[in-house]
Structure formats: structure tokens, C-alpha cells
Symmetry: C2
Amino acid sequence: MRRLGKQEIEDIAVGAALLGTGGGGDPYIGKLMALQAIEEYGEITLLDVDEVPDDALVVPSAMMGAPTVMLEKAPSGEEATAAFKNLEFYLGKKIFATMPIEAGGVNSMVPLALAAKLGLPVVDVDGMGRAFPELQMVTFYLDGIAATPMVLADEKGNTSLLSTINNVWTERIARAATIEMGGSTMTAIYPMTGKNIKESGIRNILSLEEKIGKTIRLAKDNNVDPIKEVLNKADGFELFRGKVSDINRKTEAGFARGVATFEGINEYKGEKLEVRFQNEHLIAQTEKRLLCVTPDLIAVLDAETGLPITTEGIRYGARCVVIGMPCHPKWRTEKGIEAVGPKYFGYDVGYVPVEELLKKGGLV
Amino acid sequence: MRRLGKQEIEDIAVGAALLGTGGGGDPYIGKLMALQAIEEYGEITLLDVDEVPDDALVVPSAMMGAPTVMLEKAPSGEEATAAFKNLEFYLGKKIFATMPIEAGGVNSMVPLALAAKLGLPVVDVDGMGRAFPELQMVTFYLDGIAATPMVLADEKGNTSLLSTINNVWTERIARAATIEMGGSTMTAIYPMTGKNIKESGIRNILSLEEKIGKTIRLAKDNNVDPIKEVLNKADGFELFRGKVSDINRKTEAGFARGVATFEGINEYKGEKLEVRFQNEHLIAQTEKRLLCVTPDLIAVLDAETGLPITTEGIRYGARCVVIGMPCHPKWRTEKGIEAVGPKYFGYDVGYVPVEELLKKGGLV
């Protein structure tokens, strides 16, 4: 158990945006929500997974919808509370703690803001170890844990409590409701026991985010290369260096979909890298080389500061380093690859771990 | 209190289809559902509104969605039960009785089938006195009664429990969920007290439906004109006689929308009548005359048998009598006309009661 204050929030926000692989929502809005909640209600208690009783009720708090919409329609904080209270009422049991469902600019911060407000602890665990665009894309799903009962709440005061036969149906119905409710909602989802998160969660994710964020923050003072330090902390690999030469992005079916193109600089001169995304980066490839594919992580960093850039924040001409990181081993199983591998997203390539792709120089 | 057996169901189905003004779903499917339930579970108890205790929980059971979809995807009966059980669990109170939300081929029968199955009584009341395409179009809405908490259930086993700030938002979110859940769902909606239905319901609607259906059934044996008898029982007016010369119908945004055109016969020869609908008939007019507009009822009857024809069942060349009937006085208030009058549906005409229109020969 330890306490999270403002500095920890700042660092977690940066690290989470990096693991959010371009998606997960705007880090600035997420950070403001959490900082304001701490200002108002005080610091947050972070629990290790092993500190949660086996039978305790733990409920992730998450925003659902397109990050593009989140930019225009910042949540009030009442939605997340309404979702929690409604689920507690339905289950007839007090919620012991909350946790993030994924890493990302908004969804790492949402449970922190709610925890401060409701005086609940946050558990140092999530269900992705990164961000993904659909709600069934969590390690809990691989272990057969239901996403429902879940509650969606909008900023107007409407709520919807879903009970579904499987998590793919949860995603479909919740997505349709979210679009109708204005494009983004706050959810209380995947109600779990302490035992569930011990068995199925990805541990120490907030601590890892904090470590990455702190590294980037201190790099300048320590006169070290932030990129190198990040690669070191996150077991990552440099995939490419280049200038953004094209951005193609549209919001469709509740998602931000598109492709960012980078023109190589330094040793990558003459090559072009394309990074395709659906909220999150999913595949990084040049004309001849496949460098990294989902579920491995692809992050775009500012070449100078090492700060992560989301698919919304990316700008023409920006000098970037694109890095790849191995995903959690749970995603590298057959069921994991089926759920979140390149084929699921419509790419006709098989999954090869990033470290193997790079061993062969990306020539598959 | 009285019992409803097979003959009563047959008659109610016909009368309800007539008051369903072209919509409310296929009378044949609805009737089969109710008859099968009676076959399996026995007769149904019909209660007068005054027989319901003031504090009893009464919940209408209704199908939501486009009638076109209902034709392809008949409900199993499990959905309606799931919706009721889920709502009971959420409210923590036993449901005392069910009732129809509207008159119509399916939605008059759905609560009868459910009542037989669950051994619940049905109350002789509804919230429209006819059918309407959207769920906030009920007299309960005029009296400020909330549609939620409501539960939607599909045939796969998914449920969605909505709590909304007003009934227009209920309609929007429930409609989006229904479309995603396959185009039609079973709902438990407008949970009310006995006091609520006494104050806001439209009484004796099932009895009126039965009377109309019986009249049509017996007309041939009694050697009387079924149309005349129906007009007599339902306080209606003949608007037009003609042959169907054109049908234009499409399913969009979860509704069956379109227009049916009739070429006049007998004294209407040379005139053309257009009947426009959104699930239900909404406006009947010739080139020069406005004959009947929503919320007054427009029904299309087979000229020979007097049987009502739905917008789905209407066929090119069919000889029909189009009749108009005054709606319940609750719909003729300012709030009623605002909620379900011609302007709400996008027609640029003011509401004039059908009997006044006809006094002037439809010349407005």
C-alpha cells in the first residue's frame, strides 16, 4: 500500500499514454481530471494485488467511446459515480476498490479520479497492460470472466445496465448505446473478485507507468536520452525514426481509425513507415519490412522529449521515434492472438513477436 | 375479473390489429404466441382497472422494433420472461400484473402470452388506445410517469436495463440497443402502481378490442356489413373506398416507413388517397382533401370481410375501406398533440379532429 499524490499522477499519466499505444484518450484531459480530484478529495491509496481480499468486489472504471469525442465532451465526474452506484445497487454489495481496465491517457486516470472522489483504493493492476479499442479485449476475457453486469452512464444522467451472454455482445450493445448517448460514456464494468484479479490481471501496471513517466521527466535533468531510458524500462525496441509526412484519420462506428506515415531520417532515410490504428496503433510497416503488429505495443514518441504522442496529437512534420514493446505473455497465447491479433483487425498477416521480427530486420 | 380463452384471444387479436392502425406488428404471429401460451398454461385472468390495488406493481410487456423484423424473427417467449425477472430483481418487488402498452397485432398479444406463462393477471387497460411507433408516446408520459427502469431482452439472452432522465432519451437509447440486438427486443417498461394506471391509463381497451373482433367475426353469420358494424362499435367514420395502386415501404432507423396509395371506387372514383405511415398510419389525404391525421386513428379494412390490414400485409389491387376514428381525449390536449400530432412526425399540418374534418368534407 502506498499513497499517490500529484507528482505520481503526472508520471503515471505520461507512462500510461505511452503504454496506451496512441490511443486510450487524451493524456491532458485524463490528468486534469485526476489532479482536480486529488486537489479536492486528497491523495489516493494504491494497493498491491496481494493486498486485496479474495472475496472483495473490485470494479474497473473506464470511459467508452472515441477519443476524438472525449476531446469535445469532457466528463463531469458524476457519470462515473452514477455507474458505480447503480452497479452496487444491482449487485447488492459494496465495491471494495477500483482499478484501470487499460493503460491510456484517459482510462488510467478515470479510476484514479473516481477513487479520490469516493475514497476507494485503486489496485495496481489492469486487464490489458496496454490499451485496446474494444471492451472484450482484456485478459479477464481470456479467462472467461464476464464483462457484465456493467453500467454505462452519460453526462446527462442516463444509465444503461447490461447483462449479456458473452463479452462480444457486451461490446456490440454497449458501443451502440454509447454512440446514441453522445459518443462517449463512463462505465463500471467487469465486476470481479480479488481472486479474479490475482489470477487474470496484469500486475503492477500503474507502477510501471509511473516508472516510465518519471524516467521521461528526469531525462533532461540527468542529461540522458529519454528514448534510450524508456526502451530500457519498458523492454522495448526502436523501430523507426522519421518525420510525419501524412495523417489520415476519421471517426467511424465510434472509433478513430486511420494511418500515420513517417518519412525516415538518419539511418532510416529513404524508407517510409506506415502506422495503422483503430484508436490504438495496430501495425507498423515499411514498404518492405513488417516491424511490429498487435498485440505487441507500438508507441510514437517525440524524438526530442521522449513524450508519447497519441493518434489525435500527431502533427505533420513532427520528428518522432516509433518504438515497439513485447505485450504481456497472456496475449501471446493462441486465444490471446485470436482475440487481439492482426487478423481480428482485418490485417492479412500472422502474429510474429516484435523481437523475432527485428531479429530478421523485419523481413518476413 | 373474467377469464380469457381461445375465442376471446382470436377476437382481441382482430380488434387490436384494427386499433393498431396498420402497425403494432403482425396479428397472426401475435395471436399464435398467445394461443400457444393458453394451450400450454391455461386461460388468462383479465382484471378491471378498479380491481388492482393502488400500491400493486403493474408492468406492461411489449415488443420493440420494426414489424418487418418481427416477421423474420419470432420471439421465443424467454425474452419477455427474462425482461420481467430482471426488472423484478432490480426493483426488489414482485410484479402483480401485466398489461398491454398499446393496441396492435403483436403488442396486444405479448402481455397475454406472458401472463399465461407466468400465471399473472392482465389488466384491461393500455397507454395509447391505439398503436404508436415510439415508446414515449403513451398517456403515462403525458402524466409525467417515467418509462424507466425498463429492461430490453433479446432472443439470445442479452438484457439491457435503462434508467433515463426522460422518456425521449429512453426511446433513443432503447431504439439504438434494439437495432444492435437484432432489430427487435422484448421489453418490461413503464413500471407503474395501480394508482398510476387508474389515473393515466386508457380503460377497457382489451374489452373494446374483443367487441370489435367479435363483430367482424359474426358479421357474415348475421348477414350484416362488417364495416358498418365496426364503425358503430368504434365510433368511426368511413374515409375512403379504393383499390391499392401503390405501396412504398422501407425499413429505416428501426421503423417501417412509407406510403400506401388507393384509387377510389364507387363514390370516390377519380380520387386518389394517400396513407402515410411510420409503423402506424399517420395521415390520410387526397389531392384536395385532408381526411384524418394522427393522433386520430386511421385503419385500412378489407372491403369484403372488414378484417384490418397492416402496412406489412397490404397488397397491390386489394379493395379496401379506409376508416377514421377519434383518438382518446387525452391525446387531444395541447401536450398530447405536441407528443403525437402531425407536426411531431414532420407533417406541416395542424391537428383537426377527424369529425370536424369530415364535417367540412376534408376541405381545410
